[in-house]
Every structure is written in C-alpha cells, then in structure tokens.
Amino acid sequence: MKEFALIFRLNDIADFKPTPEQVQERINWLAGIAAQNKLADKGNSLLPFPGSAKTVKNGNTVTDGPYTEIKEFIAGYVVVKAETIDEAVEMAKDNPIFKLNGNVEIREILKRD
C-alpha cells in the first residue's frame, strides 16, 4: 500500500473557521476513510492567522504568512493509504472542501527504507 498526502487549500480566510455543520461534514469524511482502514495519519490543520504564519526567504527576509496576499493558502493535510493515486483521488473527491471552492492536492509520499 502506498501513502498519499492530501493537502487542502482554501481561498478565503473566513472559511478556515468552519460552522458546526461543516465540522461535522469534515469529520464524517475523515471517519469514512478511517472506517475503510485507509487513514495513515489524521494530519493537522494549519493556522493561517496573523502571528501564526510566517515565511522565511533567501537573505533572512521574513514575511507574514500567505494570508496577506489574496491568494489561496494551505489549510491542512491528512495522509491516506491507497493502492494507486487514482484511489486517493477518489477519496479526495468526497471532501466537503469543494463546497467552499477550495482544492486538494494529492502527493504520493516517498518511502525511505
């Protein structure tokens, strides 16, 4: 079995704080994957707020996190187990993030022996 990181991106910082219904949808989705015994790591949410996000660039330039520009930001990730990337894609398709116009990037994890 391979492992894939599903990386969630949102466009609007206001969407980061979900309503109770959205929380429920997300947990339902996550538990649905765990119920197939295909959740490798329930991952984390990554706070996008001022003070919680910084970027260091070449020359020790420190900028505030991605929220300053109006562009999408990473909201979190989980790691799933799947035979193929297509299977991981199918799992991602059911995620409620698309209702918020977000997106999911799927990346196979390189396993070092």
Binding site: N28, A31, G32, A35, Q36
Partner: protein
C-alpha cells in the same frame, strides 16, 4: 457436590466466594510460579471442610476456619517440599515462618491480593484468547468444561490454551507480592483490555446459553469493581469501562427472547431493561469524565448511554459523531460497520449504501446483514442476496434465525 450434603449450601456459597480469594492470598505469599500449589492447598482445604464440618458441625466463623486450615496446610507444604526449601531455604532455616511472614487475611489484604492476581494474569505477552481463558480460570474460577462451553470450543483446545498461558505466566515470574506503581501503570491497559474482551465474550457470546453469558458479564463487572477500590487503578478509563459494562448489561434480558432468539435493538421490550444498571452506568460515566482523557471506553460508554436513553431527535447524530471519534482512535471492522448503521440513521439508506460498500468487508457477516437492511427499500433481490450471504458467514444460531425471518418477510413483500 453431592458428597457435601450436610452443609452443602453453605459450602457451595463459601467456595464461590472464597476459593479464588484464598488462592490469591496464597499466591501473594508463595509467588505466582506456585499457583498450582496454591490451588491444590485451597482445594484440599475445602475437601477437609466438607468432611470435618459434617462430623463436628459448622465452626463459628467458617471463612476464618478455612483461612486457618489453608494457612496450616501451606506451612506444612513449605516445610516438606524440597522445591520450596531450595527456593527459600535461606529464609526458612534461621527463623520460624510464622514469625517471619504471618498469613494475613484482613479484607484489605484480600482485596489487594485479588488486584495483584488480576495484574499477574493479564500479561501482555499472552494472546487475547489465552488471556481470556486464563482470566476465566484463575480469576473467575471457571472449570475447563465451562470455558469450552462459553467459547463453543473443544475441551482439548481450551486445555492447550491454558497450558500455554500458564507456562508463559510462570516463565515471566511476575512479582505478585509487591505490586508496584510502575507495574500497575505498565499493565493497566492490558488489564482493562482483558476485562473488556471478557465482557464482550459474554455479551456477544457464541453460545446461546443465557446463564453462561450473564455469568461472564457479571464476572467482568466484578473484576472491574476490584479495580475501582484501589486509588492507582481507579482511573477515568476504568470508570468508563465499568459504565460501558453497566449500560450493556442493562439490556441483557431484552436481547434474547424466550425462544432463545436474538431480539433486534428496535424491537426490544424496553420494560425489560434494568434501570438500576443504567443508573450505575450513569454514575460511572460521570466519574469517568474528569476531563483528562477520552479513551475508546469513554466513546463506547457514550454510545451505550445514547442507546439506553429514550428517543431524542438528535440521538443518532450523537451516536454517529461518537463512532466517528472511535474509528479515528482505533480501526476495527465492528466499529466501521456500526458507524455505517448510525450513518444510515442520520443520512438515510441510500447514502449509507455508498458509505458501507466502500468498507469492502465482504467476508464479514454483519457487513452483509447491514447491506441487506439498507437495500430493503430499494432493491429487494439484492437485500435478500445480502442476507443469504450474511447467514452463510455467521456461526451464531440466533443470528441465522433472525436473518432467515427477514428473508421470509422480504420474500412475502416481493411477491
């Protein structure tokens, strides 16, 4: 036990009550590696009681009599037995044993000994199966035949499991005499898991025998109660487990009808539910919620709590959320399937079919059972097909009967 005629009731009662305690006390004295010796001594003591009491009448304080005789037998044994002399020769020679190590049987000492025994038996190195067998034999006093009945397994198989388990215990040489804080911390998880398995063995028993089922469940509760009597083992998880056991036990009567058939949850006669046990469950659940942790026992107790409360609108929503958390803590096919059933109750059968079929637990009877239920409103043939597969995959007679009834009902509906 016919030969115990004169006081057989009293002796039977004392045997049930004291046999295991006495072994625990003796083991604490000898060390666990001599459990067979302890068992022999206690058995001989009861034999002597049956003879002696028949001739001389019942002594004033029967338990004290038993403990005194057992103590003397133990001392004789210590004196005579070469193995023991070798082992503790240096302790034996200079001083009188009695002065050195008095046999205690205060109620506190008995409770502590029982606790130590539980921890000694629940060894993480033993398989789940042999652990339950050992617990049943050493902690609950079940005979090999009784264990074989409970497991629907051959006596020989049980004997082998017990032998393996006991050999392992002997080789590990767990220190039962002084149960340290560290040992308790290290083993408490295994102890709780064993009691959980023991309870489930009764609650979801392979046997239809109600008496055995109840006995297994009440033994698991009794042992869990011993854990609540010690500060070190009276943890929030222990209380959560006990709450779970109380809630589940409250429905034992209602789960099987007088023909020995399993009764589905929705069809159970709620007046048969035991309210005292539900209240006890509530009590331990409150004790368990000290905010320190949420274990699988907390979640399962929470689910059982919602099942025992009357119908509130968002009951299934709550249950689904608890199953969501449970499956995120620890995957198990049973939890996945129960979650699917809760999902159906919240989001409807159609969505639940999609969710359930993803599980692909095709060799699990319950998987097909749920799909049979879910397909009923959409596709009768498919539903019947799933029920048939479920029947083929289960060994439970009661389960087969219940599902066959469903098939008959669906066939009528189809025609």
């Amino acid at each position: 036990m016919a030969e115990w005629q004169p006081n057989s009731d009293l002796l039977t009662q004392l045997f049930r009550q004291e046999y295991l305690r006495m072994i625990a006390v003796l083991c604490r004295h000898f060390g666990l590696e001599h459990i067979e010796t302890a068992e022999d001594i206690v058995s001989e003591t009861f034999l002597k009681a049956s003879e002696h009491w028949a001739h001389n009448g019942v002594p004033e304080n029967p338990p004290a009599w038993l403990y005194t005789v057992a103590k003397n037998k133990a001392k004789d044994h210590l004196k005579r037995h070469a193995l023991f002399e070798q082992k503790i020769a240096k302790d034996l020679q200079p001083v009188d044993i009695e002065a050195e190590k008095p046999f205690e049987y205060s109620s506190q000492f008995i409770t502590d000994s029982q606790l130590a025994m539980i921890f000694a038996v629940c060894d993480p190195g033993n398989s789940n199966e042999s652990q339950i067998c050992l617990a049943l034999q050493i902690l609950c006093g079940f005979s090999v035949e009784e264990i074989a009945n409970a497991f629907l397994t051959k006596i020989e198989t049980i004997k082998k499991r017990l032998l393996r388990g006991r050999t392992h215990l002997r080789n590990c040489n767990f220190q039962i005499t002084s149960l340290s804080k560290t040992a308790i911390k290290l083993r408490l998880d295994t102890v709780l898991q064993t009691l959980y398995l023991l309870f489930n063995e009764g609650y979801f028993s392979r046997t239809n025998d109600q008496v055995i089922r109840k006995e297994l469940c009440s033994e698991a509760i009794r042992l869990a109660l011993v854990l609540t009597e010690n500060v070190l083992t009276n943890t929030s998880q222990t209380n959560a487990l006990l709450a779970l056991m109380c809630f589940q036990s409250s429905r034992l009567e209602a789960r099987i009808n007088d023909k020995g058939e399993a009764v589905l949850f929705n069809e159970q006669d709620k007046s048969l539910w035991d309210n005292t046990l539900i209240e006890k469950g509530n009590y331990y659940l409150v004790n368990a919620c000290d905010g320190s942790e949420v274990s699988k026992y907390h979640l399962e107790a929470g689910i059982a709590y919602w099942h025992t409360t009357g119908t509130t609108e968002n009951k299934w929503q709550q249950i689904l959320q608890l199953y969501n958390q449970l499956i995120l803590i620890e995957y198990s096919p049973v939890a996945a399937l129960n979650r699917a059933f809760a999902f159906a109750n919240v989001y409807g059968r159609q969505k639940a079919i999609e969710e359930t079929e993803k599980l692909q637990l095709t060799d699990n009877s319950y998987y097909h059972n749920i799909l049979g239920y879910l397909y009923e409103s959409m596709d009768l043939n498919n539903a019947i097909g799933h029920y048939k597969q479920a029947i083929a995959l289960t060994k439970s007679k009661a389960g087969k009967q219940t599902m066959q009834k469903e098939i008959d009902r669906l066939k009528k509906k189809r025609s």
